[in-house]
Subunit: 459 residues, 2 copies
């Protein structure tokens, strides 16, 4: 899949990204969580007619859904981030709906931007059935797209209002979930939607999630404060989890998933991952929903945390897979580290290095660049003579050591090229017994298309 | 200077880098420092015949030259970095020669690499006239090029030895300096050579310097420990400066020059800046050279430090100008910061952002990306509502505010495009009165050519 062009005196091979449409596929209706109505509509934020740009997710469960979030740590937080954070705090970790728009980030939009984000919240609140909750607002809001432009708010308001009419498209079937996922997309080439069925204490639960990424992807999110990239994600489950435990599980999961991916090393003003747990499938005790809680049901909580983490990894990997211009999917593992944080920092540095990523694009086993990137992180006690680097093919053939205990191997370049020509491969950097901690990062390559997409994004 | 190609369904405009040859020009012989013999030769590290790959710089001054250096902070320091650091320490800041090779970095080359670096030192030592110095070695060594491959050391040794014969090319005229600068080059498109005449306490001195860069450029060097990128630079002066004062002046200068530029955000295993001060033009007192010293001649030292800093900025800017694939030269100024360090970190983050740099390439005034990059640095007390961003044209026409006190301006896109279509322009980010400190960074854009050059560097 490549074509050759002559450029001035030199020749450029423009390698196309591999086809990605197959990463989106129909999912069984039974795998979606109970008690949610969702849709995606065309409100008019995006110019092209019929391109979906507003997603709505509404919990219809009687149980007030617990909600948790990880937000960008960027100093210039977009209005929807500020508003969602505020609502989550006011409601002590409860929310009943999520509204999302793509096409405009509502970031660095001054006072008008705050008004617009609140307008989206209030309009979505108006769609909800009456509840006994004392909370004033029930909806969390996310936006993604261009920074520094105001939302066409009257179009968005009108779009949300259309869901109060009999003609509304809010539903719970696969195609409704698919529409919602589509409305998240910006430069994404396929909607990112996954679902999962799991069991805790004999009860079956489900979770579904959608996210979007493509560019500005290098999240760094924490509890109520931590992503970098316009990465938006929303996970919905019909399990019942207490708000604090839900936040703890999400924080753990995000660190090992969305905070362990990089497309271009950019932290966005809007990065947000939300999770709602509406308890629609929860077992009841004396007619009341029992929430999974870290304090009272450690075992159940650990299962939930593990399921959420695996699911978040799956969603996060889709973002890398669809990274702007990406032709490769690379797993970077750093082991033998004294702490998880150090392993994570080194994996992150390798995953964001422009030189490493252009070498991936060129299918060049340039391990010197990998080592050079790793070495820019200061690691107390690191002995370069103990460090090893190995390339790991994804096709179950033999791995290829290129550096063993600080000494370069005589590398079979043909074999190296063979591994790097795969769409998926891995790299392992072993720090040589500084400790037993390890971290994994997922990244893509840096191609001509990344430059093309971002050299002319606004027009 | 652009051509259009059709790529699958989309069209790519491959914009060529502007011509850069005019940044190299003949310099007056009188502007070069006295007491140095220099040359560049083809030893055979590079395959193409007649391409220069080894530079030699020898001080012929009776006064033992003071030497100072800033080295990479990378954990995987190349052999020449380790060796030069050791010699500098052993000699208490004195050295009489410098040997440089391009084409192979001698990095991550294990024990053989160390032996090779020492061999380069010993061979160059053998060229020097006898001296009364008790030091065992007199030569500092630098290498740049591919990581993880051993030097063709016998070719290099033979090349250095050729300078002990009557046919040697070591000389002090412009063309000898030009040859030395040429031998530094890797993917550089022009040799980077500058000279300068200055006066301290009525005595006229000179300095000349050469450097190389192109890729892996984001230095972070400190006293005997601080660059990131394969940036090599060497500054020679005929002033006499005491070793400690020379190191202090260099550390200050490097922070505000080589540590304030970025091509691709990569810290190299080899980054090194050296300075020799051989005192060949120094005033003598009772027949003895008097060295400029911070303690005994504060005023003279400050003049020297200022001259060295301005000169280092000039050399550093040439590296950005010739950044791999660069079509733009952008000055990033951050002001109103509480400390220089914070201003420097924000300027650095903006200067390394792939999204900001691809927008520069696309001549897109996407200030949202600038702000988003700035915001990823944590600044205590920062109030987003006080922040302003301005585009500064280099042609003395009016500047263009795009964000004023946190509120986006209604930007004249035609005017914005006009500024960004210049080869040189600037950006000012004002943090809004958090303090009075400021920092300046120089960066380039991120183009198709960067990907082309680095996607296929080794072959």
């Amino acid at each position: 899949m490549s074509r050759v062009f002559r450029r001035f005196s030199s020749t450029i091979t423009l390698k196309a990204a591999p086809p990605k449409a197959h990463f989106h596929r129909a999912l069984p209706a039974s795998s979606f969580p109970k008690g949610y109505l969702v849709t995606g509509i065309h409100a008019g934020v995006k110019k092209k007619p019929d391109v979906l740009d507003v997603a709505l997710i509404v919990s219809t469960s009687d149980h007030p859904a617990a909600a948790a979030a990880c937000f960008t740590r960027n100093a210039f937080k977009a209005a929807p981030v500020v508003v969602s954070e505020q609502i989550l705090t006011q409601n002590r970790g409860r929310a009943r709906a999520v509204v999302v728009n793509s096409g405009c980030a509502n970031a660095v939009t001054g006072r008008q931007g705050m008004d617009d984000a609140w307008a989206m919240v209030r309009e979505t609140d108006a769609l909800l059935p009456p509840s006994t909750s004392p909370a004033e607002n029930h909806t969390l809001v996310m936006s993604t797209g261009v920074i520094g432009q105001n939302l066409p708010i009257s179009k968005i308001v009108q779009g949300i209002r259309s869901q109060a009419t009999p003609a509304r498209s809010l539903a719970s079937d696969f195609s409704a979930w698919e529409r919602a996922a589509q409305a998240f997309m910006t430069t994404d080439t396929f909607p990112k939607l996954r679902s999962r069925v799991f069991t805790i204490n004999g009860t079956e639960y489900r979770m579904a999630g959608m996210d979007k990424g493509a560019g500005m992807i290098h999240p760094n999110m924490g509890p109520s404060n931590a992503l970098h990239a316009t990465l938006l994600g929303c996970i919905l489950t019909d399990a019942a989890v207490s708000p604090q435990s839900l936040q703890n599980a999400l924080t753990y999961a995000v660190e090992r998933s969305f905070n362990s991916i990089s497309v271009d090393g950019e932290m966005s003003t809007n990065d947000t991952i939300l999770v709602l747990a509406n308890g629609a499938a929860a077992a009841k005790h004396d007619g009341k929903v029992v929430e999974i809680d870290e304090e009272t049901d450690k075992e159940g909580f650990e299962i939930f945390k593990s399921e959420l983490t695996q699911f978040a990894v799956e969603l996060a990997q889709l973002v890398v897979r669809d990274g702007e211009g990406a032709t490769k999917f690379v797993t970077v593992n750093v082991k033998g580290a004294p702490t998880y944080e150090i392993a994570h920092r080194i994996a992150s540095r390798i995953s964001t290095s422009a030189l490493v990523k252009t070498a991936f694009y060129g299918e060049d086993a340039n391990w010197g660049r990998i080592l050079s990137a790793a070495g820019s992180i200061s690691v107390p006690g690191l002995n370069p003579d103990k460090v090893s680097v190995t390339f790991l093919p994804s096709d179950n053939t033999a791995s290829l050591p290129v550096l063993v205990n600080g000494e370069p191997e005589s590398v079979d370049e043909v074999r190296a090229k063979e591994i790097l020509s795969l769409e998926d491969f891995g790299i392992c950097v072993d720090l040589g017994g500084l400790g037993n901690e390890e971290a994994t990062y997922w990244t893509c390559d840096f191609s001509y298309d990344y430059v093309r997409i971002n050299g002319d994004y606004r027009s």
